[in-house]
């Protein structure tokens, strides 16, 4: 086994894992209790929301598209789950997820059918979903009276997991399998790399785009419905900055904005990195503003390093030093 080749081939992945480990080491060294199971449970609960949304969004990014409607979907799906959950949470969950699937398919069909940018299409659905959320909730926070449901979705499993976080992990594994082991998954990646070349090679590019949006819509709706049952309430304002967080997680996880590059393992590391950063900063009592600044700095740092920023800077410095003095 050649470790050098392994390191070279997986340099970016190793860097991402190293960053996550550096964060964990930093916080655990600076504050006792960061690695306590109770705090790890809290970290995984945050991952349950961000991870699930980021997994779905990443599939559209890998397919060379973008789903701007995921934040609004989380909000409206939560409201639908509560409104439709009168006869039971399972019914509410099913209706919300079916709604997410439907809107996802609609996003995909409009994108491939109209031949316009998915940014335009999903801005439209985002606005529509936000309006729907306000309309359904009457501008209010809607509440759910079945306390047992909250206890069920957030019950502690194996010390640090809950049904919510396990659903997020399972969703990530499913998409990982889809991308790695199925023809459809390969079509999604090929479509994101070069749509024309993929079509010429026989890939089902239109199906790939529709499926990627269907996954994104479904995952966002699932995340919203589970969050609503966890909080026993849902509001039209939920998920305000979730879109940015999910995009950050995807980029931190190595998903390329141009499409065709990225995988669920990376997105999981990206989402865990962000949740560890936010959890750790909250643990040491950082302010809201400091947490936002840190999120932005971290993203910029990773993007800069991934693009070879330090190497280019070193080259510039070397060139400057070597340049002969002019009179």
């Amino acid at each position: 086994m050649n470790i050098a080749k392994l390191a070279r081939d997986n340099r970016a992945s190793l860097l991402r894992i190293a960053l996550l480990l550096a964060l964990v080491l930093y916080f655990s060294a600076n504050r006792a209790g960061f690695l306590d199971t109770g705090n790890l449970f809290s970290l995984m609960q945050a991952f349950a929301l961000l991870g699930l949304v980021a997994f779905g969004l990443s599939v559209t990014m890998i397919a060379g598209e973008f789903d701007l409607s995921v934040g609004a979907m989380v909000a409206v799906a939560g409201i639908i789950a509560i409104k439709a959950g009168g006869s039971g949470a399972a019914a509410g969950l099913a209706v919300a997820v079916a709604f997410g699937l439907g809107v996802g398919i609609l996003n995909g069909l409009l994108t491939v059918g109209l031949g316009v940018s998915s940014l335009v299409v999903t801005v439209g659905t985002q606005i529509m979903l936000t309006g729907l959320a306000y309309g359904l909730a009457g501008g209010q926070t809607v509440s759910y009276e079945n306390f047992q449901v909250a206890a069920d979705v957030d019950q502690v499993i194996a010390t640090i997991f809950s049904p919510r976080s396990l659903v997020a992990i399972a969703a990530g594994v499913l998409v990982w399998l889809l991308l790695r082991c199925t023809r459809l998954g390969r079509d999604i990646i090929a479509t994101g790399s070069s749509r024309e070349a993929a079509a010429a090679a026989g890939a089902r590019t239109r199906t790939a785009v529709v499926v990627s949006f269907a996954i994104s819509g479904t995952f966002a709706a699932l995340a919203g419905a589970l969050l609503a049952f966890s909080l026993l309430s849902a509001a039209p304002t939920t998920g305000g900055d979730l879109l940015l967080q999910a995009v950050s997680a995807a980029i931190l996880g190595g998903v390329a904005l141009a499409g065709g590059i990225g995988g669920m393992a990376g997105v999981a590391v990206g989402a865990l990195t962000l949740t560890a950063l936010n959890n750790g900063l909250s643990f040491i009592g950082a302010s809201d503003a400091a947490i936002s600044i840190s999120n932005g700095l971290l993203l910029l740092a990773v993007v800069t390093i991934s693009a070879g920023g330090p190497a280019r800077l070193a080259e510039l410095v070397r060139a400057r030093i070597r340049r002969p003095a002019t009179s």
Binding site: N2, L19, L232, S233, G285
Partner: protein
């Protein structure tokens, strides 16, 4: 046999170093903005206001986690500061977690706070409706909880040790008293059409203030009719938009007054009235919360009244309740803030309450 190529190793090592540096810079920024509360048990050396808490020896060194909301809201920032000052004077070690009114984030913060095993939690719900599962978890973890500012309601009172904060029904009643007084003073009689610009729909403060307001009008001034009600979501700009719509929709109904559930929203109503060519001084605009906008507009005569709700009292009462609960002293389950109608004559009370 493992082979490490020198060049690759160096590149990976360099990148790791760069990442670590980036992480350190990032955390450095965070640390600059982090509270140093955990080291801050002043032990009551600063005598100012210490009389309110006389049991510092009982609770000295105990840890309280304050789950609070954004410092971008002036009232919230002042209340939080007052809490920290009072708690530190009592010898408590305070740790703070802040959310920008994000109920999901706050639920995660509650999980984290429970994991940190504090002696007590002071909990300002980002959304009182969404706070019940979190209250259940804190109760199950046997952590004493003081809910502050936003009560989830009497129905859930067994989930927390005490509530400190405004009695929103009473605040609504006092706003109605201000309106009645203003109409009598300006028009000679308490009657006519008014509209309401409310807080966030569905939030307990918005609901309870309106209940108290409507009840008092029904009992004491049945000639006053509420002809419209739109949410301003505790935001001046949204309140301006809401008032624009209400002034337009009720153009022929001779609006004589407006109840905005907070002073910043009353400021939005004043902007809207001027846009419509109306003189706010001829209307009776009543607000609430004793905010700086209210002070300014009452002084200028464009707003008639506000209702005292002091952020300093809000924070102080919560910290005192933590001390009482931790030291086993008597603590009222609902410990409400002092409240009174504020008009131009007693503006000083308002200014003092705001700090």
């Amino acid at each position: 046999m493992f082979h490490l190529e020198e060049g690759v190793t160096r590149r990976v090592a360099r990148s790791l170093l760069a990442l670590t540096t980036a992480a350190v810079v990032t955390f450095g920024v965070a640390a600059c903005g982090s509270s140093d509360d955990s080291s801050g048990s002043s032990g009551g050396s600063d005598g100012g206001g210490a009389a309110a808490v006389q049991t510092s020896d009982d609770v000295s060194g105990k840890k309280v986690i304050l789950l609070t909301v954004t410092p971008q809201c002036d009232y919230c920032a002042r209340a939080t500061r007052a809490f920290e000052e009072t708690a530190k004077r009592a010898g408590l070690v305070v740790e703070k977690k802040i959310t920008n009114y994000d109920a999901a984030e706050q639920a995660d913060q509650v999980n984290q706070a429970i994991a940190q095993r504090p002696d007590a939690i002071a909990y300002w719900p980002a959304d009182a409706t969404a706070s019940i599962p979190s209250l259940n978890r804190m109760k199950a973890a046997r952590v004493p909880v003081i809910v502050t500012n936003s009560s989830p309601g009497e129905r859930y009172s067994d989930l927390f040790n005490a509530f400190t904060g405004p009695n929103d029904t009473r605040l609504g009643e006092l706003a109605a008293e201000g309106l009645i007084r203003g109409l009598e003073e300006k028009n000679g009689r308490a009657e006519g059409n008014i509209f309401v610009v409310g807080g966030q729909p569905g939030s307990p403060p918005a609901i309870q203030r309106l209940e108290g307001f409507e009840r008092t009008l029904a009992e004491r001034a049945p000639g006053i009719r509420i002809v419209g009600n739109q949410p301003g979501n505790w935001d001046q700009t949204q309140a301006t938009t809401a008032a624009d719509g209400l002034f337009t929709a009720n153009a022929g109904k001779n609006i004589v007054g407006v109840y905005a559930q907070a002073d910043n929203m009353a400021a939005g109503v004043i902007v809207s009235a001027k846009r419509k060519g109306l003189d706010p001084r001829r209307l009776v605009i009543v607000g609430g919360n004793c905010q700086p906008e209210g002070l300014r507009n009452i002084r200028s005569g464009e707003q008639y009244s506000s209702v005292l709700q002091s952020p300093l009292d809000d924070g102080r009462l919560a910290a005192e309740a933590v001390v009482n609960v931790l030291s086993g002293r008597d603590q009222e389950h609902n410990d409400y803030l002092p409240a009174e109608v504020i008009v131009r004559e007693n503006l000083a009370t308002c200014a003092e309450g705001v700090g």
